[in-house]
């Protein structure tokens, strides 16, 4: 991922609001997931439409309904993408509750900044990232299954070195000092998970997996998966192994369910959302659809299941042809699409190839949850380095920036 050296600076007051807002949101989403896979109170109450849940391809009630998991915690690590609108208000653009990647880049960006501009760090009071890896480690370890007697053994399960996020997996495993394993290194016998070591089999208690649900266990999900481990789901259901993030989180972080998160916060916590959503229209609503089809040039239209900036129409930058193509797609499957007003995304200066110019940015905030919840100070600022582009994904020309949270009392001026 390309790096831009001008940091994003967030004053502590703003950060405190983000931090509280993220904790609130993750609490509600975790309660939502636990509720969905147990009592389904929120569906009974009609707050979230039942068909939206049941039609979701990542809803795995058949596989994990009724399973009790350590700490009743489904979201051990989330990455929430935030933007700032034209009024300076932070808004949530997307929740990533499955396998959010990019945390290693936060550390790497900081590392590079310290190497290149050490003097900046003498002049500013910036929240450090030093203890965050041990926080992450403790968070992982706090999910030890109840029966686990000795010190729990945790591993990070990667699809392998050809995965685009392998660097992230490698970095986190190394920093936390846990074994980096592939599916073929694990084995399930009598509902207990083992890893194959040079001394034979060794029991595994906690799996921080970076493999999607449907590849985890060919017996329970896709039978063609060669990345997963046969029988893993059985061990999980028996409570012999913790899997982080929980199985079935995908139902809560797609672009359709997103619309209901503020309602979840009200329903479970009785609070008003601190960090609001971006206004979103469902195209399954015929009135909305007519409106959207008439105003395609002003809107952003997204496929609810897609990610990474794919299958997305950015109205103001689209051609007549693209709009026509999307019109057809929408008419064919209106349930698959949502629309959002084009927000005047906040911009920040970037410096590339000897030139300073404004670029659109967003911020991925990482929230760890175990016995306690902890928000990584800062996060990954992603920047659309292609001038005028609104897409920050690294797969489409996006880059990263270091993110500084100023400490209270630090006035931010160079002394």
């Amino acid at each position: 991922m390309p790096f831009d050296f001008i940091p994003i600076i967030i004053p502590e007051e703003d950060w405190e609001e983000i931090e509280t807002g993220m904790k609130q949101r993750m609490n509600a989403l975790n309660m939502f997931l636990d509720d969905l896979y147990h009592d389904q109170k929120i569906l009974e109450a009609g707050v979230v439409p039942r068909e939206l849940v049941e039609n979701n391809p990542y809803y795995y009630h058949r596989q994990v309904g009724g399973v009790d998991i350590p700490l009743a915690n489904h979201i051990f690590l989330s990455g929430v993408d935030l933007i700032r609108d034209e009024h300076g208000q932070y808004r949530v653009l997307e929740d990533n509750l499955r396998n959010p990647s990019g945390m290693s880049y936060v550390f790497q960006n900081r590392y590079v900044m310290r190497q290149v501009y050490p003097e900046l760090f003498f002049n500013h009071e910036i929240r450090t990232l030093e203890h965050q890896i041990s926080e992450l480690h403790d968070t992982v370890m706090s999910h030890a299954p109840k029966e686990c007697q000795d010190a729990p053994v945790a591993v990070l399960l990667t699809p392998g070195s050809y995965n685009s996020a392998f660097y992230d997996h490698m970095f986190l495993a190394q920093q936390m000092g846990i074994e980096l394993v592939e599916g073929r290194d694990l084995l399930v016998q009598d509902d207990v998970v083992y890893m194959k070591t040079i001394r034979g089999l060794k029991r595994v208690d906690i799996i921080y997996r970076r493999i999607d649900d449907d590849f985890l266990d060919p017996e329970a999900f896709r039978p063609d998966s060669t990345l997963g481990v046969s029988g893993l789901l059985g061990a999980y259901k028996k409570g012999n192994v913790a899997i982080l993030n929980g199985i079935g989180n995908g139902v809560a972080d797609d672009k359709a369910m997103y619309v209901y998160v503020p309602e979840m916060i009200r329903f479970y916590l009785g609070e008003e959302p601190i960090i609001p959503n971006v206004e979103t229209y469902f195209l399954s609503d015929p009135e909305r659809m007519d409106y959207v089809l008439e105003h395609m040039e002003e809107l952003v239209i997204k496929n609810v299941g897609a990610s990474g900036g794919y299958d997305m129409l950015i109205g103001p930058q689209s051609t007549e042809e693209e709009r026509e193509m999307f019109r057809e797609k929408i008419l064919e499957e209106p349930d698959r699409y949502i629309a959002q007003p084009t927000i005047k995304l906040s911009r920040a200066p970037a410096y590339q190839q000897g030139r300073m110019y404004p670029c659109h940015v967003d911020l991925r905030v990482f929230v760890m949850n175990g016995k306690e919840m902890n928000v990584l100070p800062g996060g990954l600022s992603r920047v659309a380095l292609k001038e005028g582009s609104l897409v920050v994904n690294s797969s489409q020309g996006g880059g990263g920036k270091d993110t500084w949270i100023l400490r209270k009392g630090g006035d931010g001026d160079v002394k």
Partner: protein, 320 residues
């Protein structure tokens, strides 16, 4: 440690070593070539280089004629030979990549830099001067990698697996070089005064010339060279050195105990060491020696096999 990780480290060690050894052999040959008396001698030399670094039979099946440029390419970068230096280095890099979490960062950087620098090689690959540069960079890369391993890795299990890979590869390579040279000498018996050059080449192939002449007269008596390359414990490419270091490393790994799963490995190591020290190499007739070396090369391969089985090392491909 995961078996897959141990496997990757072991093969990383072996492949770096294999690439370096083959590069040295080819480098020596490129220099010798200039002095080759005639076409027949040259062809014979190439045949022996192919036999040491890959397989003569495989090469002939594909090309059916000995031609310098073709051989050089076959040994360095050709896609038809799985043991090219390029491929060995690529395997080593891949292995380092999957185990980056336990390796010193500099080791990955050294191997990765080699990989990145080689992307442009093919363009001027036609010139032998380009090849010499390539071989030099490769040998330097291997030595730098070993330097990083020695200077910054803890003497734990990962270190041990890398080193065992290296020692076994060296022992096997030394046995192979001696085998090829013996065969050549045997075929030639009495007809030429070339024996001197053969054993000199053996020492140069194995980077042992300087060390040898410090302790032995420069007459290149076959018995002395063989004794040196097989039994000299102080020389780091001798067979005795490799095998005894493997044994010590495994004793350390097992905390000094022989358990049921490691008994077979210890037995075999003992047998091999007895074979080495109990054989009066210098006094052997060439035929006898050939037999011994043949047997010994097989023992080395068997040792690798038993070692891999003892620690459940897996083939690198996904098993399902």
């Amino acid at each position: 440690m995961l078996s897959r990780t141990a496997d990757a480290l072991y093969w990383m060690g072996r492949n770096i070593e294999r690439a370096e050894n083959n590069a040295r052999v080819l480098n020596v040959q490129l220099i010798h070539m200039l002095e080759a008396s005639d076409r027949t001698a040259l062809d014979r030399d190439w045949k022996e280089v192919l036999e040491i670094c890959a397989s003569y039979a495989d090469y002939m099946e594909k090309y059916n004629r000995l031609e310098t440029q073709t051989i050089v390419e076959y040994l360095t970068t050709s896609p038809v030979n799985p043991n090219t230096m390029k491929n060995c280095m690529a395997i080593a890099r891949d292995n380092a990549r999957t185990t980056r979490d336990i390796l010193p960062a500099e080791l990955w950087e050294v191997l990765n830099e080699f990989h990145l620098d080689q992307t442009g090689l093919r363009e001027d690959g036609g010139a032998l001067s380009g090849t010499k540069g390539y071989l030099k960079t490769l040998m330097r890369t291997s030595m730098t990698a070993q330097g990083v391993i020695e200077s910054s890795m803890s003497r734990g299990t990962p270190y041990t697996f890398i080193k065992i890979g290296k020692w076994l590869e060296r022992a096997e390579k030394t046995a192979r070089v001696l085998n090829v040279i013996c065969e050549k000498e045997l075929r030639d018996k009495g007809t030429s005064g070339n024996s001197y050059y053969y054993w000199l080449a053996a020492l140069r192939f194995l980077n042992g010339y300087d060390a040898f002449i410090k302790e032995n007269p420069p007459t290149m008596a076959s018995g002395e060279v063989l004794d040196f390359l097989i039994k000299q414990e102080a020389f780091p490419r001798s067979i005795a050195y490799g095998v005894s270091h493997v044994r010590e490393a495994i004793i350390e790994l097992e905390g000094g105990e022989v358990r049921h799963y490691s008994a077979r490995l210890f037995d075999l190591l003992e047998t091999v060491e007895t074979d080495i020290h109990g054989t009066a190499v210098a006094d052997m007739e060439m035929e006898e020696l050939m037999e011994f070396l043949d047997h010994f090369q097989k023992q080395c391969m068997h040792l690798s096999q038993v070692f891999m089985e003892t620690y459940y090392l897996t083939p690198p491909a996904a098993v399902r």
